[in-house]
């Protein structure tokens, strides 16, 4: 049965050729950026060994670059940046609350267990 009280939000997202060109340009820019970041990561990983004194810095660089990559994928490729503000918050805020808590508690616990293991061995 056809219903006429349903709103087709998807029709709002149509755009013309000119806007399409603009969007594609942005997509290509992000592609190049993601590729460059991956190349930099692999080069850093291959050149600098984990026992180097500079390693902790590299580790943080990896984490920041990863979050940068993830941000571009979510905001541009998944269009979350173009959605309404509150949709963005509904997706991101609960996720970050849970995951940050989980990271905190896992590291805390792991450190405690490690100290116990070191003490008894």
């Amino acid at each position: 049965m056809e219903r006429d009280d349903l709103i087709e939000y998807s029709l709002d997202t149509h755009h013309d050729e000119e806007k399409g060109k603009e969007i594609r340009k942005k997509i290509y820019k992000v592609t190049i950026l993601l590729t460059l970041v991956t190349i930099v990561e692999v080069l850093l990983g291959a050149v600098i060994k984990q026992d180097a004194s500079i390693w902790p810095l590299i580790k943080w660089t990896f984490l920041i670059l990863t979050i940068l990559k993830a941000g571009y994928i979510v905001m541009v490729f998944m269009h979350l940046g173009d959605e309404r503000k509150w949709l963005r918050y509904v997706i991101l805020v609960p996720y970050f609350i849970f995951i940050l808590y989980l990271i905190f508690i896992a590291l805390w616990e792991a450190t405690a267990i490690k100290s116990v293991l070191t003490y008894f061995s």
């Binding site: 709103i7 087709e8 939000y9 998807s10 029709l11 709002d12 997202t13 149509h14 755009h15 013309d16 050729e17 399409g20 969007i23 594609r24 997509i27 592609t31 993601l34 590729t35 991956t38 190349i39 990561e41 692999v42 850093l44 990983g45 291959a46 060994k49 984990q50 026992d51 580790k59 990896f62 984490l63 990863t66 990559k69 993830a70 994928i73 979510v74 541009v76 490729f77 998944m78 269009h79 959605e83 309404r84 509150w86 949709l87 509904v90 997706i91 609960p94 996720y95 849970f98 995951i99 989980l102 990271i103 896992a106 590291l107 616990e109 792991a110 450190t111 267990i113 490690k114 293991l117």
Partner: protein, 343 residues
């Protein structure tokens, strides 16, 4: 409603009867599913970090574990996963181009880019299969327990085994026979079972043979667990040169079983602690299954595009929704790549 929902004030938006997010039910639910799936992967990667934090020194290092390329052999740290990452990023790009073409109602464009995405997905799944094959199969040297009780992984170029010359007859081979088939497999099997003593290998049929093998090059031991002499400290963990070769073959030809481990299974692996291989199998396997199901969903939607189902509907939102899933798979890989291979 078309075109003007952005101009609605918040009172109208939140006043009922319309979605305050200006999004369809399907797309919203896809986002909620992705949040829950992201929590699953987040939990898996965090438990990986938890375990790794507990056994710091013994944990394998990505660039030492994954350094082989198809057709080229070993010695290319991280190159293959970099290629896999690149393939997945590109297939993500073709997917977003398909979504963009859908917004212009360009059916041909959507079809073209979706097919490109599917091909990229197959390449990635294939690469992961190859990666698993190598991981399970292991290196030519394996991980070895040295004479002093320390445990080391081994790098370098393994000298080719030419043949086995039988010196003592068994059920099948006669004295003087030259065995030239299935050498590597027989060699590794015998080494793990402790059937090689002082360079004399005992074959399946009970015959004994000498090993005719070329010299190894640049054999290097990396100590993973300290013993009485060798220590797994930053300065001392890498042993090179004649001492490395001597220690390795002393242990390999000791005639004791289980001194050497090749490859990986769920009980033991040559790379590091037992949990390492289990996390590898579970996390990359779970991700690989996501990629595989993503490819299947993409194929189904692509058939719908070709059949004109979405064109008749007036919008290509189904492509957008599968696109969300596909980008999510790419997103997860970005994190797996960092935590499994880089750090």
């Amino acid at each position: 409603m078309a075109g003007h929902s952005a101009a609605l004030d918040s009172k109208t938006l939140w006043g009922g009867k319309i979605s305050p997010f200006s999004t369809s039910y399907g797309k919203l639910m896809m986002w909620f599913f992705l949040v829950s799936d992201a929590l699953t992967f987040g939990g898996l990667l965090i438990s990986y970090g938890f375990t790794r934090h507990d056994c710091l020194e013994a944990w394998p290092i990505g660039e030492e574990t994954f350094n082989s390329m198809p057709f080229l052999g070993h010695g290319f740290p991280l190159l293959y996963v970099a290629l896999m990452t690149f393939i997945l990023i590109i297939s993500s790009v073709t997917m977003v181009l398909a979504v963009e073409a859908g917004h212009r109602m360009d059916r041909k464009g959507v079809t073209k880019w979706m097919i490109a995405t599917i091909i990229g997905g197959f390449f990635f799944v294939g690469s992961q299969g190859w990666e698993w094959y190598h991981f399970i199969h292991g290196s030519e040297f394996g991980k070895i327990e040295l004479a002093d009780g320390s445990i080391a992984i081994v790098k370098g170029h393994f000298g080719e085994i030419k043949n086995f010359t039988v010196t003592e007859a068994g059920h099948h081979h006669k004295t003087g026979d030259v065995v030239t088939e299935d050498l590597m497999h027989t060699f590794q099997h015998a080494a793990a079972a402790g059937d090689i003593t002082n360079g004399i290998i005992t074959l399946h049929d009970g015959s004994k043979a000498t090993i005719n093998k070329e010299k190894d090059h640049e054999l290097t031991l990396i100590i993973k667990k300290s013993g009485k002499v060798n220590k797994a400290t930053k300065e001392k963990r890498v042993i090179r040169g004649a001492s490395a070769t001597k220690q390795y073959y002393e242990a390999l030809y000791s005639g004791e079983a289980n001194r050497v481990i090749y490859g990986a299974n769920l009980k033991q692996n040559e790379y590091g602690p037992q949990q390492y291989a289990q996390f590898f199998f579970f996390i990359t396997g779970f991700h690989g299954f996501h990629v595989f199901s993503g490819v299947v969903i993409n194929i189904i939607i692509c058939l719908g595009v070709v059949a004109g189902t979405y064109h008749k509907r007036g919008h290509y939102e189904m492509v957008e929704k599968t696109g969300l899933y596909w980008h999510f798979v790419d997103l997860v890989w970005v994190f797996v790549f960092t935590f499994f291979y880089l750090i």
